[in-house]
């Protein structure tokens, strides 16, 4: 270990390597329910070249490597399950290039969502990127690589679908570029080449370390508004979502269901954000949204609610800081959720089962969904705030999460950014040949098994 430490210091400098108990403690856990797992080293590279050297060292010494962005997945993906090196990528946070005409930005893997938002606001006010509702320190790369979604997902789909290309260091130390950047100086698209980005998306860092990536940018429209549709009939929601999405007005559609405040109990609240180039266009879009669900308004089974100014401000904020406050329900510093990707017709099942599971564990239900694309799928979330200082509460949340993952798989959904145990649940449902293919690919890419081992594995 001493030799590895010295080599790491040679690569990144002493200030950016630690094997101290303090860093090992903090990097062993996140704010979710997963048990800690300690790294041997935490290292902060500053360039692709440094990442490459670290990976070559890890290969030589056969020590695991776990890449980490913001460390905010809540599901413990960045815990080094078999020890080794945690690569904290946040020193590599440069915004390299904005192509205004072709609407993309090239960033290093440690660039944060908030930093890009502020940069675009200042230098390219006509453009924006899709922000997740994670805190703004979350990294762009981390969210893209886990198939995240955000404030433009109704318009642009998953954040992984907004990826134009990436640079990665393979577990063998080779630096590769995938997408147009492999062949052209422009990072404009993943087409028309064989789409190798799939080797890195959704793999939980088990296939390499992404060092740069380009993502699509979207118009930052000057006029913005939000509407909220309410109903108390969950069975109607899939069709309502389908209708709202297909008029192609919304940038973001999010459902929220919770028993608090009291007036919200038993209701499904659909929050629709949209923007326009002019007030006239905004009014037209407002009308289009209304027309899309007129059937239900006329039948008096749902309708748009008036929104108080404070509430509207909160819903127009990106990212919504109120989400973090919402996570503080238990005043206990612990929060985790199952985000399940599923077709929108599963909404009623997910809703009812979510309430049942929460109640069976003595917890307050807190459910929601973000619509992906024109209702092509949704990320349905089952949130469980807990008190970290109360072991029983942590345990309850852990069990609720496990039950939720199982239920999601049963009804036909798939847990997103799944915890290591949930990954095993997914593998049990997965076509065996698919899992075999995953293993064959990994064996080729990572012959020594150094990349975030313990993930996407069976016992």
């Amino acid at each position: 270990m001493e030799e590895i430490y010295k080599e790491l210091v040679n690569i990144v400098g002493q200030s950016y390597v630690s094997n101290h108990a303090e860093e090992r403690f903090i990097y062993s856990r996140d704010m979710g329910t997963m048990e800690p797992s300690y790294p041997d080293f935490v290292v902060m590279p500053n360039s692709t070249e440094e990442v490459q050297k670290i990976i070559l060292l890890a290969n030589k010494m056969e020590i695991p490597i776990v890449p980490m962005g913001g460390g905010l997945t809540l599901s413990g993906i960045c815990r080094p399950l078999k020890g080794g090196i945690v690569l904290d990528m946040k020193r590599m946070n440069r915004i390299i290039e904005v192509n205004e005409t072709s609407s993309y930005v090239l960033v290093e893997a440690g660039a944060s969502q908030g930093m890009l938002q502020a940069y675009l606001k200042k230098h390219y006010p006509g453009l924006k990127h899709s922000m997740p509702d994670a805190p703004p320190i979350a990294t762009i790369a981390g969210n893209v690589l886990i198939h995240g979604s955000g404030h433009l997902s109704a318009a642009g789909g998953f954040h992984s679908e907004m990826l134009n290309g990436l640079e990665a260091v393979l577990p063998t130390g080779d630096v590769v570029r995938v997408g147009s950047c492999s062949t052209s100086p422009y990072w404009f698209s993943r087409s028309p080449l064989p789409d190798l980005s799939g080797l890195f998306l959704g793999w939980m860092g088990t296939t390499g370390v992404v060092t740069k990536l380009a993502i699509k940018l979207f118009p930052n429209l000057p006029f913005n508004d939000v509407r909220i549709f309410l109903t108390d009939e969950p069975e109607l929601i899939p069709d309502i979502l389908h209708r709202l999405a297909r008029v192609q007005v919304a940038e973001d559609i999010v459902a929220a269901m919770a028993p608090r405040p009291d007036w919200l109990r038993g209701l499904q609240m659909l929050i629709i954000n949209y923007g326009a180039e002019s007030e006239k266009e905004l009014t037209l879009k407002r009308e289009m949204l209304r027309e899309s669900v007129r059937k239900y308004i006329d039948e008096k089974v749902g309708g748009f609610m008036p929104i108080p100014p404070d509430m509207k401000r909160s819903f127009l904020e990106v990212p919504q800081s109120s989400i973090s406050r919402f996570a503080d329900l238990k005043k206990g510093g612990g929060f985790e959720y199952v985000g399940a990707i599923m077709p929108i017709e599963l909404f009623p099942d997910a809703y009812r089962n979510g309430i049942d599971i929460a109640e069976s564990h003595g917890m307050t239900y807190s459910l929601g969904a973000r619509i992906i694309g024109l209702g092509h799928s949704m990320m349905f979330f089952f949130a469980y705030p807990f008190n970290r200082a109360d072991a029983e509460d942590v345990n309850n949340a852990q069990k609720a999460l496990e039950d939720t993952n199982e239920m999601v798989l049963e009804i036909g959904g798939i847990p997103w950014k799944a915890e290591a145990p949930a990954q095993k649940q997914i593998i049990r449902k997965m076509c065996p040949n698919t899992f075999a293919l995953m293993n064959r690919l990994r064996a080729v890419l990572d012959p020594k098994g150094i990349m975030n081992p313990g993930n996407w594995e069976v016992d």
Partner: protein, 394 residues
């Protein structure tokens, strides 16, 4: 440990690392060290781990806790109401634990020993405290309207002395009724408190309160925002309630009566908010009104200003302990680069610690030819000196 009952409430969501605009990292220690441990959330979790016996006291833990600049960015930007108000109290309580254990960085130990033995962090004779005023012919405090309180940096540091002289000279030129304590002045204790030496701070505060009361002092003008903070917010806890002003607040009142010179060309000035004036005491406007009242001054704002200002890295005792100095990511160097990027020629300050930190950073960044640190009083005086008769060129 005080505040131990709220340690578990921090999620480490990271809003505390950023300014409100999210433009860049804004927690000075996280900016320099970059490990999660050096962020406010990291400290919260480590303190809980320490109390739970999951980690032990160590030199590393001491460095992590004492590198906090107590700048208040975390308090400003944490998204959890009420809880956020106690963040700095938690970190100070953590430092108190280490102080009582005796496991503090050597530079902290040296600072506290100097205060205990000499009454000042420079280990100089207290008799030299009044030397800064030599040649100015200032009156000792008797029964004037104000006490001008200079503090340790203004008394002993060469750059601080320049500021103290500039402020005192202006106050006198404006006819303000004030006196100084000279060699009788004592440390304000703000840094001892921030460093977790609550006992020493209490002793200092009580001595100062007694001295101020005995002298009949009711109104105080401070040179340093750190002293302003201690006397205004902490001394009332020791029966010492005074009418306290930072000198920029007095300047603001008097600038309206001032006639200044025109400069030969617009002077591009950006103002660096001192944390103990800004975030800690919400005074953002007085310095800007002073600068705004000067003809020819074009006040430009950095991306991070007012509640979003990046600390120079000198707060929380770090001016003396230097745990945030060195390297391109030291907050002071980042700050002067930011000032240069907005095209400022003058980086205006209102704190002697900021002045020193940022001047050193300008040298480290080799920006001497394009950027210069000037205190508010120095800028105003430069205008006045050329007011008669011709235009100025700073």
């Amino acid at each position: 440990m005080k505040q131990s009952d709220i340690l578990h409430r921090c999620f480490r969501c990271g809003y505390c690392k950023l300014p409100g605009s999210y433009v860049d990292l804004n927690c000075p220690s996280y900016l320099k060290y970059r490990f999660e441990t050096y962020s406010p959330g990291g400290r919260m979790w480590l303190l809980r781990a320490l109390l739970d016996g999951e980690i032990r006291s160590s030199a590393r833990l001491s460095e992590i806790l004492f590198s906090c600049a107590a700048c208040g960015n975390c308090v400003e930007h944490c998204v959890f109401p009420k809880f956020k108000d106690y963040l700095l109290d938690v970190f100070i309580a953590g430092r108190e634990e280490l102080v009582s254990e005796g496991t503090v960085p050597s530079s902290v130990k040296k600072y506290l020993e100097s205060i205990r033995l000499y009454g000042n962090p420079y280990s100089l004779p207290e008799a030299e405290r009044g030397n800064w005023a030599e040649g100015l012919d200032l009156e000792a405090y008797r029964d004037q309207e104000y006490l001008f309180y200079v503090g340790c940096v203004g008394s002993f540091d060469e750059r601080g002395q320049q500021m103290a002289r500039a402020v005192a000279s202006l106050l006198r030129e404006w006819g303000v009724s004030f006196g100084i304590l000279g060699r009788k002045e004592r440390c304000d204790g703000n840094e001892a408190r921030a460093m977790g030496e609550s006992g020493l701070f209490e002793l200092i505060a009580r001595q100062n309160v007694e001295m101020f009361r005995d002298a009949g002092i009711k109104k105080i003008i401070t040179l340093s925002p750190h002293a302003y903070n201690a006397i205004k917010n902490e001394y009332p806890g020791f029966d010492g309630t005074f009418e306290v002003y930072h000198y920029s607040q007095i300047f603001q009142q008097l600038m309206g009566e001032e006639v200044c010179a025109l400069v030969d060309r617009p002077l591009r000035v950006t103002f660096h908010d001192p944390c103990y004036l800004g975030r800690h005491n919400k005074e953002y406007m007085a310095p800007r009104l002073v600068l705004g009242a000067l003809p020819g001054v074009e006040l430009i704002e950095m991306d991070r200003s007012m509640a979003d200002a990046l600390c120079c890295g000198g707060g929380g005792g770090n001016f003396f302990t230097d745990l945030l100095g060195g390297g391109a990511d030291s907050p002071a160097r980042v700050r002067v680069r930011e000032a240069a990027q907005v095209g400022a020629e003058i980086l205006a300050v209102a704190c002697p610690k900021c002045a020193k930190m940022l001047e050193d950073a300008i040298k480290s960044e080799s920006l001497e030819k394009q950027l210069r640190v000037m205190d508010l009083a120095e800028i105003v005086r430069a205008h006045r000196q050329v007011a008669r008769p011709q235009v100025m060129s700073l």
